[in-house]
Amino acid sequence: MSIAEEEMAELAESPKAPSRLRVVAQRFFRMRQGQIGFVLLALMFVLAFFGPLLGHWSYTDKDFNAFLQPPSGTHWWGTTQTGADVYAITLRGMQKSLIVGLLVGVISTAIAAVVGAFAGYFLGWTDRILMWIVSLLLVLPSFLILAIMSPLFADGAWVLFVVMLALFMWMITSRIIRGMTVSLKEREFIRAAEFMGVSSSKIIFRHIIPNMSSLLIVDATLNVGAAILSETTLSYFGFGIQPPDVSLGSLIADGAKTATYAPWTFWFGAAVLVVLVLAVNLIGDSLRDAFDPTSRRRA
């Protein structure tokens, strides 16, 4: 939120000068991979949230006249072994994976920003304790911890799953942010704010974190991709989104069992998942280049 406000504030103050937001957006959309990623992700969103309106079946429906049928007029992407419509359940899985991915990406980046900025700004014991927690969480096998906790995610407690997923994804970014904060706090405008008696937490939230917005936006985007990968992997083994709800991971797990003789049960879900992650990664990569044109030469 504060990032958008910051951009808006800049826009209002100097209407003549090209805003940073517009410059970045222009650079982003001038890149081929940025365009492809954006279009792909937009299509995925439309498919996931408006596609179900077109289909004749809901994801809970079972067609007892069509078990494991190939794609046809009634079932566009075929049916599964239990007679569920692959089109309907895949789109439902997409919705879930998209929502989980977006939430985790935003939450984990927010944690990384706050922890990293506090550690880097205060240094001393705050820094030591926070960075020790970071090393501890890096050592804890996140896949294992989340899998152990999976019984708690049943009965629609997927929000807890989102929080836990986010809790294991912020560590490396927070180390980077800590390093940036250490150098940023020596700058004149931070010093000036300190001498004017602005409180430390206000300096962190008003000056330090918005100054790293480009890194944070890029990181949040890339984390969305990583979160979708983690979520679907856990769901694949039954440790993530619990039935009766579906995720792309649990769908692919079911599809893989029948993939050799009923390929439609596997390939639609797998393709959608790969395209989704690919689109997010393309956007993240292009955003990084758009924010930092000097990196363009390398990437």
Binding site: L138, L140, I148, I252, V274, V277
Partner: protein, 327 residues
């Protein structure tokens, strides 16, 4: 240098102890071994279940701290307790650790070497066809979750076998059950089983390392010391391999520690899907069967190997970067 390593080692040990303890407490409170006995037909009397659970230190009526102390005092003596069926966790995991170790070492070897080679070559031939192809390829592979990749490899393997007409690659297990033959025949049999799991483990690694190595190499290629080396008469090839590659490897060595955790997850998925009876497969099975002690033991092994990888990457960095050794 020795002081630096000892400090790191002590810090790592403390982290391992805390991480394993946390994992045990979490497993002991979230998993429910009692459920394994309650669903039996004919039903077992509650007193019998309690006695059995007490014997295995799995009774959720015992306070968590008490169970933890019993478990921890066993672990200090090298005993990880019993599985919920009453077998020794140590014996079971000892057998499985070898399987996982073989898979990871082979995957890591191919993944890191090929990744670094691909990345370095792509950087040297920047914007050439190889560079473009490898960048696109690695970008694509990084978007494929390992479980999808493994299943696609199985489907491709089955299709390939069908096209060729004979069994070239096997899609399940570590070796053919009851296989009789000489040393080379059984080696070939093992290699046929290894191809697909190794690919599923190594391909993502190659993708990660090649992208990383390419960027590092590009930074180094423009550096003054390479120009100096060529200017004083060194061949370009020697300057690239002796000076550029070594310098560009330092960040990759640091990065190695971070990839190791995801490598373990990758190995877990690969084992489960390809039916290798390793630690990863057992991890998933043990969570499904509420086997607290096995889960905690695997958590310990995971934390230990992540720390070992960090230590190894510290050593590698020290070997590659003289500045670390001096300070």
């Amino acid at each position: 240098m020795a002081g630096f390593l000892i400090r790191r080692l002590v810090n790592y040990l403390v982290l391992t102890v805390v991480a394993t303890s946390l994992a045990y407490m979490l497993a002991a409170s979230a998993l429910d071994p009692r459920a394994n006995y309650q669903g039996r037909n004919p039903p077992l009397p509650p007193a019998v279940i309690d006695a059995r659970l007490d014997e295995l230190n799995l009774n959720n009526k015992t306070p968590l701290m008490e169970r933890y102390v019993t478990w921890a005092s066993g672990v200090i003596h090298g005993d990880f307790g019993k599985t919920w069926q009453g077998e020794s966790v140590n014996e079971d995991l000892k057998r499985r650790a070898g399987v996982t170790f073989r898979l990871i070492i082979i995957g890591l070897f191919f993944g890191s070497f090929l990744g670094v080679a691909v990345g370095a070559y792509a950087a040297v031939k920047q914007y050439g066809w190889f560079d473009r192809l490898s960048t696109m390829g690695s970008f694509f592979i990084l978007s494929i979750p390992v479980f999808v990749l493994a299943n696609v490899l199985i489907l491709l393997g089955v299709w390939f076998n069908g096209v060729v007409g004979t069994q070239i690659v096997y899609v399940s297990g570590e070796y053919s059950a009851g296989f009789e033959g000489g040393f080379f025949a059984s080696l070939l049999d093992r290699i046929q089983h290894l191809i697909l799991p190794t690919l599923s483990l190594a391909l993502p690694l190659i993708a990660v390392f090649s992208r990383y190595q390419r960027n590092m190499m590009l930074d180094v290629l423009g550096a003054d010391f390479i120009r100096t080396a060529v200017a004083k008469g060194m061949t370009r090839r020697a300057a690239l391999t002796k000076h550029a590659l070594r310098t560009a490897l330092i960040p990759a060595a640091t990065y190695f520690a971070f990839t190791f955790g995801s490598l373990l997850v990758g190995a877990t998925i690969t084992e489960k899907i390809f039916g290798w009876h390793g630690l990863g497969e057992q991890l998933i099975n043990s969570i499904n069967t509420n086997d607290v002690n096995t889960v905690a033991a695997i958590a310990f092994l995971t934390a230990l190997s992540v720390l070992f990888a960090s230590l190894l990457s510290d050593l590698l960095t020290a070997a590659l970067d003289p500045r670390v050794r001096v300070s």
